[in-house]
């Protein structure tokens, strides 16, 4: 039974409390000036302003970043485009290069073909030429022609003519002996100067034979120099095909006419 009593007591207490709260709440409230509340209010406003400024700053900062990013993006775009252009240019150049290379290759092939053709023709025309050319190269130093315009000349029995093969100016083996003999005589007569005349047979053009006669005279002179005769003592002249020793038109006369003729300069 005690429990029931307690319940009642509690209920009464609750009602009293509720009524008192109700009355209390119904009583007119007196405004009360609170200094701390004002300060709090001010602090709050300041805080708010600070936050706002902060917010503004952040916004601005973000905006700057955005602009910067956009600028960078534009720059990036531009660079990309530039690189693309370069790439295209490079590709174009490469294509050009390729084309050029192909063209050059074709040219080279053509040249090679031509060279081969030339070589074939050359070989066909004269096989021995190469050897002769080599021999000429060995004695590379250029010997120039000399002339004796005011000279008088005479033939002496001690100096024999030498002969050449058709369209040739190299010294034949049979001519070497003669030239050695001529050189010996010149060594023994050191005051004597000689004139070498280069001659050709009539088979050939006058133009080409003029140059061929010159070549014969020069190769004879070179040979004598190689045997120790001074170049100052040897004058050369080509008569081409103009002064045949035998005017006939036979193999025999042609053989005689292809010659280097020696004369002694008397004055």
């Amino acid at each position: 039974m005690v429990k029931n009593n307690v319940k009642y007591l509690l209920a009464i207490m609750f009602i009293v409390f509720s009524v008192s709260v109700f009355i209390n709440s119904c009583a007119p409230k007196k405004p009360k000036v609170d200094q701390t509340a004002i300060m709090r209010e001010q602090q709050r406003a300041a805080e708010e302003a600070r936050l706002k400024a902060e917010e503004e700053e952040r916004r601005k900062f973000e905006e700057a970043i955005k602009i910067e990013q956009e600028r960078k993006a534009a720059e990036e775009e531009e660079r990309r485009k530039f690189e693309e252009a370069i790439k295209i240019e490079q590709e174009r150049k490469a294509a050009e290069e390729e084309e050029k290379r192909k063209f050059e290759e074709a040219m080279k092939a053509e040249q090679k073909r031509k060279a081969a053709e030339e070589a074939r023709l050359k070989a066909e025309e004269e096989g021995k030429r190469g050897i002769e050319e080599e021999k000429l190269k060995e004695e590379e130093e250029e010997i120039k022609p000399q002339i004796a315009r005011e000279a008088e000349t005479k033939v002496v029995p001690q100096l024999d003519d030498i002969h050449f093969d058709f369209d040739k100016s190299d010294i034949r083996t049979d001519a070497r002996e003669i030239l050695q003999k001529n050189a010996d005589w010149l060594q023994n007569n050191p005051d004597i100067k000689i004139q070498i005349e280069g001659h050709c047979d009539e088979r050939g053009t006058a133009e080409y034979n003029l140059a061929l006669g010159e070549r014969r005279a020069m190769s004879t002179k070179k040979y004598l120099i190689s045997l120790g005769i001074s170049a100052d003592r040897i004058y050369t002249i080509s008569y081409g095909e103009e002064l045949p020793i035998d005017p006939n038109h036979s193999e025999d006369s042609w053989t005689k006419n292809r010659r280097a003729h020696f004369l002694v300069i008397t004055k």
Partner: protein
């Protein structure tokens, strides 16, 4: 050739009167000769058919010395010139020509119908008057179908220029009817051994009027006319070396051009006549150089251990053809006149030399050794096609083109000694034009010389 101006001595009044009479007649003649330079092409036919022309003997004034000879010679020269031109065909029956001409004389007018009946389209008449040493020729051309005088010409000169006057008339006819410059006033130069030595000679293009212009008593080679026809360059051994000399044709004066030790020949004129291409061996072997006429401003174009000779300057001056044996045998090569762009031209034959450009620059004639004999070939520079112009007629060398490109002169030993011949540029109509006991070598054909 000067226009005639005769001054008779005025001793008697009659002579003065006569002179005035003559003078007035001349004046009226001059005014009758139209001075147009139009080309009269109305008779020219298509397809290369030749124009038929009647040329009676020229009329020569009564009492003139050597009358018959002048009369016949003049029509002969003109007939030959016009046949040579390749454009005309002359009426050959001289008896009928004489007959109709006599009728003209009797009736005092041109009997156009009679002339036309010979098949002729044009009539060429000449009238020669000889006074003292002076010769005057009046030439008239008639178109027979229309019966009109086309034009008249008047030439004055003397015995030495008689042929040239007729040649000039021929070239006028050729020009008037074809629009092309004839070659009747061109000349040849060549070498002959008439005296026992090779000397340089000149002649009219038809091989007449031969004159010796050197007296070196040595060896003279490779004469070449200057483009203006006033000088000849040639090589001479007179001073104990093959030197290059210039000779003034008018006065025979000689000037050394290239006298380097060694060979100084052959040479070729630049088309403007200002420089020469020459083969020189002064540096050891024959190479091609270009130089001025005092041997200065030398420019070496080739450098090889082989022979380089026979330079030939192209008509446009840009290139030089020459012969080289750098490939083992003499062949024709072409390079720029500065020595660049060298290329080989001939591949056929084992011995090719003496190249000569056609006046239009499209072809090169050259000499080639085939079957042991020299023959003349022409290579087309565009198609590289080679054409052989001579064959089975001994050796044929040194081709040179006439300035109109229609003929080629050359030397041939087909009749024994080398002599000067000419043929059409396609090899047809080969004829000897000069015969000399001393032979004929190395011709060169001049431009028109007036």
């Amino acid at each position: 050739m000067n226009k005639k101006t005769s001054v008779s001595d005025q001793r008697s009044a009659i002579k003065v009167l006569l002179f005035f009479l003559l003078f007035t007649v001349h004046c009226s003649l001059f005014s009758a000769f139209a001075d147009t330079s139009d080309v009269y092409l109305s008779i020219t036919k298509a397809g290369g058919a030749k124009i038929k022309i009647a040329i009676p003997d020229f009329l020569v004034q009564e009492g003139a010395i050597d009358r018959e000879n002048f009369s016949k010679k003049s029509s002969e020269i003109l007939t030959n010139d016009l046949n040579n031109s390749g454009f005309f065909k002359t009426i050959e029956n001289r008896d009928i020509l004489k007959e109709i001409d006599a009728k003209d004389k009797k009736t005092g007018k041109i009997n156009f119908n009679e002339w036309t009946s010979l098949g002729a389209e044009i009539l060429a008449k000449g009238h020669i008057t000889i006074e003292g040493g002076k010769i005057n020729i009046e030439c008239r051309l008639y178109a027979l179908k229309s019966g009109e005088q086309i034009i008249g010409y008047k030439y004055g000169g003397d015995r030495t220029t008689f042929r040239q006057m007729i040649h000039k008339f021929s070239d006028e006819i050729t020009y008037r009817f074809t629009g092309e410059n004839g070659i009747a006033q061109t000349m040849l130069t060549f070498v002959s051994k008439v005296t026992g030595n090779k000397e340089v000679y000149i002649s009219d293009y038809d091989g007449q009027n031969i004159r010796k212009i050197t007296d070196d008593k040595s060896i003279s080679l490779f004469p070449k006319w200057s483009p203006d026809g006033k000088n000849i360059i040639y090589a001479t051994y007179r001073y104990r070396n093959p030197d290059l000399y210039l000779i003034d044709v008018a006065d025979g004066k000689k000037t050394p051009v290239s006298i380097f030790p060694g060979i100084n020949a052959p040479a070729s004129w630049s088309p403007d006549g200002k420089r020469l291409a020459v083969s020189l061996s002064k540096d050891g072997n024959a190479e091609i150089y270009t130089m001025d006429f005092d041997g200065k401003n030398l420019s070496r174009l080739t450098k090889s251990r082989s022979i380089e000779t026979s330079p030939a300057w192209s008509p446009n001056g840009i290139e030089i053809a020459f012969t080289s044996d750098r490939g083992g045998s003499p062949q024709v090569y072409i390079m720029g006149s500065d020595g660049t762009n060298l290329r080989r031209l001939t591949y056929q034959g084992k011995y090719n030399d003496q190249s000569s450009w056609s006046p239009d620059g499209n072809k090169i004639a050259y000499t080639s050794l085939n079957g042991g004999q020299f023959n003349i070939f022409v290579i087309d520079l565009v198609s590289s096609k080679v054409q052989q112009l001579t064959s089975d007629t001994g050796d044929n060398q040194n081709p040179v083109w006439s300035p109109d490109g229609r003929r080629i002169a050359f030397s041939s030993n087909r009749d024994g000694k080398y002599q000067i011949y000419a043929m059409n540029s396609d090899g047809t109509d080969q004829r000897r034009i000069i015969y000399l006991e001393g032979g004929g070598y190395s011709p060169s054909w001049s431009q028109r010389i007036e």
